[in-house]
Every structure is written in structure tokens, then in C-alpha cells.
């Protein structure tokens, strides 16, 4: 029953609408999940691989035919020529700040703020409502509360989720589904946790209403 509901939540979200990812992406998610749940030793390599695969899914990274890494620097906000050009412009415009401070202040590190803003956008409630609907985002929210109550256990969920958020935040143009797709196993787990939480039982009546609204809006 529980899994039917979880399936329901995801099937009405934009996760399974439109673009179908290559078969190896699904396979990789399953392998990565099994590996990290079996042993702590796999967590670091899984995080590493997820980082690059997520960049690839978001069209920010690829491998050339000679297997050379190829970053799409124009689409990455911290290396984008537009951002760098703006920083240079700020450097020349600010004639009041002493030269040394100016030299430090207006350098490429400033573009990190664009990345932080993207990350904050991915963490904002409205993003999750658009992605998972009202019913799904409430379950995720409850799941997060339960996860925190469980003292962030298992720990790899945390790293997995945030490596996806941080790497997706590097993109100038955020695509709602692409930017979060690889965190699907963690989201499913959070939804299940949300279902099982005590708070959910007390708000269940209203939750059905929200699910109904999501169905209508689908």
C-alpha cells in the first residue's frame, strides 16, 4: 500500500514527464544506491561519480571521444564569461575603493554568489511545490523533519542530496527536473519517511485533499 502511494506521488510529479534519460543513468542510480547503502566505503566514490554524472545530465559536463573531460564553462555560472565580464566591469567602475581591496574584492570568487543563489532557489519551498506538487512536497518536508529527528541517519542521504543540489546549482539555466533527477532515490526515501511520521497521521485528511488538488492540476 505504502509503495503504491509513493509511486502515485512521483507519477503525478514532473519526474516522469517528457525527456527519458539514457538507460545507463537509471542503472547507475540503482547501483550507486545499493553500493552506498551496503558500505560506507562506497559513499565517497559514489558522491564523486554523482557529481559528474549530474553535471552531465544538466549539460554542464561531457567526455570527448578521447575521454578528455569537457566542461561547458559558458553554462556554468562561476565560469560564465558573462559573470566574469560583469566582475571586471565592477572592478573598473569602483574607483573609490583602495586598489588592493578592489583587486581582492572584484575577482572571480564573487561569482560564487550566483551559484549560492541558484542553490537557494533549488532549496526554496516553491521549487519543491512545482516539482512534487503540494502533497509530495509536504511529505518530503515531513520526511526531512523525521530524518533530522533520526540524527541524519543514514548519513549518505545527506551527502547524496546535497551533492546533487550543489552541482545542479552550477548551471546558469536551471531545469526543474534535470537539476534534481539524480536525487530520486533519496526523495523516495524521504517521502516514505514522511508517510511514516506521526505528524502525517494527524494531517492525513487534509493531505488527501492536497493529493486531489495535485491530480486536478496534473
Amino acid at each position: 500500500m505504502l509503495f503504491k502511494f509513493v509511486y502515485l506521488i512521483f507519477i503525478i510529479s514532473p519526474f516522469f514527464v517528457g525527456k527519458i534519460y539514457p538507460f545507463w543513468v537509471y542503472l547507475l542510480i540503482i547501483f550507486a544506491y545499493i553500493a552506498s547503502s551496503k558500505s560506507k566505503l562506497f559513499i565517497l566514490p559514489v558522491i564523486f561519480v554523482l557529481f559528474f554524472v549530474n553535471l552531465h545530465v544538466n549539460s554542464l559536463f561531457g567526455l570527448s571521444r578521447q575521454l578528455k573531460p569537457d566542461f561547458n564553462l559558458e553554462k556554468i555560472n562561476i565560469t560564465s564569461p558573462i559573470s566574469i565580464q560583469k566582475v571586471a566591469q565592477y572592478y573598473y567602475d569602483d574607483v573609490y575603493t583602495p586598489y588592493r581591496i578592489r583587486h581582492f574584492l572584484y575577482s572571480q570568487w564573487l561569482t560564487v554568489f550566483v551559484w549560492i543563489s541558484s542553490v537557494l532557489k533549488l532549496l526554496s519551498p516553491i521549487f519543491w511545490v512545482r516539482l512534487m506538487g503540494f502533497s509530495g512536497s509536504i511529505l518530503i518536508f515531513l520526511g526531512v523533519i523525521e530524518y533530522i529527528k533520526n540524527d541524519f541517519s543514514p548519513r549518505y542521504w545527506f551527502w547524496w542530496f546535497f551533492i546533487i543540489i550543489f552541482s545542479s546549482g552550477l548551471g546558469i539555466n536551471l531545469d526543474t527536473r534535470n537539476s534534481i533527477f539524480l536525487s530520486l532515490p533519496i526523495l523516495i526515501n524521504l517521502v516514505i519517511l514522511g508517510f511514516k511520521s506521526k505528524l502525517f497521521i494527524s494531517i492525513q485528511k487534509y493531505w488527501w485533499l492536497l493529493l486531489f488538488v495535485d491530480f486536478i492540476l496534473k
Binding site: N77, S80, I82, S83, K86, V87, Y90, D93, D94, Y96, T97, L105, L110, T111, V112, F113, V114, I116, S117, S118, L120, K121, L123, S124, P125, I126, F127, V129, R130, I172, V213, I216, L217
Partner: protein, 531 residues
């Protein structure tokens, strides 16, 4: 901390806040904006002849550009207009002063909500909050209304503790006055006046609040009545045309989409809920929601400085420990603030939701105080980051924003007037083009800028006529200039958009006498005079 020290610190913080709000206020933002100039002229007009730009005597809403602005700012601004004259100080100082008073009020609210340290930290947070600084540097009626409403809420909180009837009266008067201040308060102030007593019920009988409600109703009645009358005479006024269901995109979807009716109704009803949730977006509040530059700019700021985010999270998690019972009114205020803005369209409406700054600042200060007490190293780290981010913000607002925001504030009309002012008496016709911008893509309100900075006689402004598609006020004409058909009269001056230089027969008749350059070195207007 003793009361004496608290007052001393609060005054020092307010002085610093006042400095941030008034430094170069005449030139940064570089020009008066569309709404500012409208309020400025109305205030000048009311002061001199008791009528607004459109000739209405002592109005309860200023018609402006059919936005029917709330009247309080224009009325309260008249002494400032008298003291400073028709310039930027004459419209912006009131906002700067009310922004400074807000620091004091938030300090007192913070102290009442928990302790003196949180009062001081709340005052610091609001003093350096980018959104509060920006709002206070512009003649926003929303900023004044927020200060007045916050004082009303403070009086309600004081009544909760002191139980003196005077606080009920003060609360009623100030909440009522805030409704005269800005459209958001039409809904928000009554909501607070009703919901806060509901919260305080265990300690104070609900019916005890009747003096506040009666005063509120008496004070706001003329405003609501005026709105009703405005609706009858001009149903497409801006106050009602900004409601979410008037959104063009939404209307297009409702009319043309093949979706079924049930879904369309759901979309219509869900839109304000989505708008509401959007007001709590972290990127808007802490990332890039301030709107100084385009959102991809590395120097764009959120409403609050970024290091306030962890402080707010700590404040929210520990809200019970820090604020005890007082958490309820803080959270209620936070939850109510975006309701009215969410019923309008156009995404997160920063000015309409200015009120959310107050509870967020106090909760953030609570988090900051909690870290100071329990995690001193993290407290030091976040405080340093806060200082660092403030140091980045200062050149951003005082240098880069000033330089890049010319078009947003219709830069050039005041400068054009100042250029032609010494010679204008020698000419019989002054023609000013209303479009501006690099591609002439914007249309401004030059007649208000010339009228305000030139201190035109108000009677002349009110007897303006429309001739050949141009607004005519004495020898001034405002509208479009097409050189191919323009009949150039002797003794004429033209102020035209830079994308519209003289061509054809005008070349032999006119000389360029001046050029208006924006702070970011773009040519904005060309000024020609007959040979």
C-alpha cells in the same frame, strides 16, 4: 544590559542606520522614479493649492497614473517639501526618517519579545538589511506605512503586558493610519488587529480590545469608502487591476487552453497560494531578490544579507526557547505579511511585502543571540561573515547601483530641466520627448519632472491640454517627436531621446546645445535649440 545601555545602543544603531539611509540620497538612486515623482508633485501641489495633480481637492487617494495612491505620504511630506523645496530631499527624507524610526521600533519589539540583547541585535539586523536600506532611500509610501503599522503592533504588545488603555488607543490610531499609508495595509492592518487579540486570549479577554477596533474602523472608513467610490467611477484603477486573476498570462490560459474547466478553476484558485509560497523563497530573501541588477549579476543581493540565513534557521528551530509565548505573534506576523501581496500578480512583490522584514529580523536576531550564548565560535564566524557581506554591499549600493540604475529611474529629465533652465525664458516653445532608454523603449512622465523640479505653477499643470497627441502646459509640450513631420517654430528648444536625433529639414534649423549622459556613460537625451 541595563535600560540606559539599551537606549544608548539603540540610538547609536539608529544614527548608523540613518547614515546608510541618507548618504548621497539626492543622487542615489540617481533620479526620482515614476511613483516618487508622482507623490512628490502631488505633495507640492497639495502644499501650495490644496489640490492634487488632477485638480482634486484634498483627495483621500491620489489618482496619479490611475494607481490611486494611498494619501498619507503625500500629506505628511508637505512640511519636508516646504523645508527642502522641490528636490530629492523634499520627497525622500520622509522615507529615510521613517526607515530610521523603524530601527527603533524593531529594537523595542525585539526587546519586548525576549530580552534587551535581542532588541539590540534586531535593530542591527534591520539597520543593515539591504531591502530596508533600499526602501528608505526611495520615497516609498510602503515604507512609511510599515513604520506606522509596526508602532501600532508594538502598542498592542505593550498593552498585553501593561494593560493600560492608552496602548489600545495608540494601537487603534496607528494601525488605522497605516491603512492611509499603503494598499497592503488595507488588509494587513485589520488582520493583525483581529488575529493578535485572538492569540493573546489566554491572558486578555478578546472583547477588551474594542477601543482599538472602534478607532481602527472609524479611521479607515473614509479610505474604504473612497475606494468604493473610485471603483464606481474608474473600475480599471490600478488597485483593482493588479489582482492576480487580472494577470494577462493567466487570462490567456483560461481563455485559450484546451484544459477542462475543473483544472482551469483549480489553476485560478491555486495561483495566489503559489504566490504566497514564493514569498518565502530563500533565493529572493537571501540570494538575488533585491532587484538592483539583473538576477545573474554576481553583486545582486537578497532582501537580507546572506549570513542572516543560518541565523534565521537557528532562530526558527529554537523559536520556542528564545521567544517563549512571544513566538506566536512573531510567527503570525510572518505568516500574515505575504497574504495581501500574494493576491496580486507579477511574482514576488518586494515593496508590497515589506512588512515581512519585521518578524524575520527579530527571529534572525533571536538565532544570532542563541548562537552567542551557546555556540560562541559559530557566533563569531557568522558575525564576521555578516560584516564581510555588509562591506561588499556598501560599494554595491553606493557605487554600482547608482551607476547602473539610471533607466529604471527615468534618468535625464531632471538634468534636462537643469540644462535648459538658465535659457528657457528666451524661448517660446519647449518640446520634451516622453520616450527614453538606450533603444527608446521606455515611456516616461516628463511633465511631472519638469513640473516638480521647475516648480511650475500648479494651476498651469491642472489646466494642461492635449494638442496633436502632446500634452501642453504653457509653453511646454510633452509627447512624441517625429522629425519628418515636425513643424519647427522659431525660438524652440527640443529635448529628445538619443535614438531620435534631428534629420531632414530639422538639420538646418536646429543646433545641438547639450547632451544628457547617464551615470553609466550612455547618452540619454539630446537638447536642440533653434538657430
Amino acid at each position: 544590559m541595563s535600560n540606559k545601555h539599551f537606549v544608548l545602543f539603540l540610538i547609536l544603531i539608529s544614527v548608523f542606520g540613518f547614515y546608510l539611509r541618507t548618504k548621497n540620497i539626492a543622487t542615489n538612486p540617481p533620479h526620482l522614479g515614476n511613483d516618487e515623482i508622482s507623490i512628490a508633485f502631488d505633495s507640492y501641489s497639495i502644499r501650495t493649492v490644496g489640490k492634487d495633480e488632477h485638480g482634486r481637492s484634498w483627495p483621500l487617494s491620489f489618482m496619479s497614473h490611475r494607481s490611486y495612491k494611498a494619501p498619507l505620504y503625500a500629506y505628511l511630506n508637505t512640511p519636508f517639501n516646504y523645508i527642502f523645496g522641490n528636490n530629492e530631499y523634499g520627497i525622500r527624507m520622509l522615507s529615510a526618517i521613517s526607515g530610521t524610526l523603524l530601527i527603533l521600533i524593531i529594537g523595542l519589539l525585539g526587546k519586548t519579545s525576549s530580552n534587551t540583547s535581542i532588541g539590540i541585535l534586531s535593530a542591527i539586523i534591520i539597520a543593515i538589511t539591504p531591502k530596508a536600506i533600499m526602501a528608505s532611500r526611495i520615497g516609498y509610501e510602503a515604507n512609511l506605512a510599515l513604520t506606522i503599522m509596526s508602532f501600532g503592533v508594538l502598542a498592542m504588545i505593550y498593552y498585553r503586558f501593561a494593560k493600560k488603555t492608552i496602548w489600545l488607543i495608540v494601537a487603534g490610531v496607528f494601525l488605522g493610519l497605516s491603512v492611509w499609508g499603503y494598499h497592503t495595509q488595507w488588509g494587513l492592518a485589520p488582520m493583525l488587529a483581529f488575529c493578535l487579540p485572538m492569540l493573546f486570549r489566554p491572558k486578555i479577554k478578546f472583547t477588551k480590545w474594542w477601543p482599538t477596533w472602534i478607532l481602527l474602523v472609524v479611521i479607515v472608513f473614509p479610505i474604504y469608502l473612497d475606494f468604493y467610490q473610485t471603483q464606481l467611477s474608474d473600475s480599471h484603477n490600478r488597485a483593482s487591476s493588479q489582482i492576480w486573476y487580472q494577470d494577462g498570462q493567466l487570462n490567456d490560459y483560461l481563455k485559450n487552453s484546451p484544459d477542462n474547466k475543473v483544472k482551469k478553476i483549480a489553476v485560478l484558485l491555486i495561483s495566489p497560494i503559489n504566490n504566497y509560497i514564493e514569498h518565502f523563497s530563500f533565493d529572493t530573501l537571501f540570494g538575488d531578490g533585491l532587484g538592483m541588477f539583473e538576477r545573474t549579476s554576481p553583486l545582486e543581493f537578497g532582501w537580507f544579507l546572506l549570513p542572516c540565513l543560518p541565523l534565521l534557521i537557528v532562530g526558527l528551530i529554537k523559536v520556542n526557547t528564545i521567544f517563549g509565548d512571544n513566538k506566536n505573534w512573531l510567527l503570525l506576523w510572518m505568516a500574515l505579511s505575504p497574504i495581501i501581496p500574494a493576491t496580486t500578480y507579477g511574482g514576488v512583490a518586494a515593496v508590497r511585502n515589506l512588512s515581512i522584514m519585521v518578524p524575520l529580523s527579530i527571529i534572525t536576531a533571536g538565532g544570532w543571540w542563541y548562537l552567542k550564548k551557546h555556540k560562541p565560535i559559530i557566533f563569531l564566524l557568522t558575525s564576521s561573515l555578516l560584516l564581510l557581506h555588509l562591506l561588499i554591499f556598501l560599494p554595491t549600493i553606493f557605487v554600482h547601483f547608482q551607476k547602473s540604475s539610471g533607466n529604471y529611474f527615468q534618468f535625464g529629465y531632471k538634468q534636462s530641466w537643469e540644462k535648459i533652465k538658465p535659457v528657457v525664458k528666451n524661448y517660446q516653445h519647449v518640446i520634451v520627448e516622453s520616450r527614453f532608454g538606450r533603444f527608446g523603449q521606455f515611456v516616461g512622465v516628463p511633465h511631472l519632472y519638469f513640473g516638480y523640479f521647475g516648480a511650475f505653477p500648479v494651476e498651469a499643470m491642472q489646466s494642461k491640454t492635449n494638442e496633436n497627441g502632446r500634452m501642453k502646459i504653457d509653453k511646454f509640450e510633452f509627447g512624441h517627436v517625429d522629425w519628418m513631420v515636425e513643424e519647427i517654430q522659431p525660438k524652440s528648444i527640443y529635448v529628445v531621446s538619443t535614438i531620435n536625433p534631428i534629420v531632414a529639414n530639422a538639420i538646418g534649423k536646429l543646433n545641438q546645445i547639450e547632451e544628457i549622459i547617464t551615470p553609466d556613460n550612455q547618452s540619454q537625451f539630446l537638447i536642440y535649440a533653434t538657430k
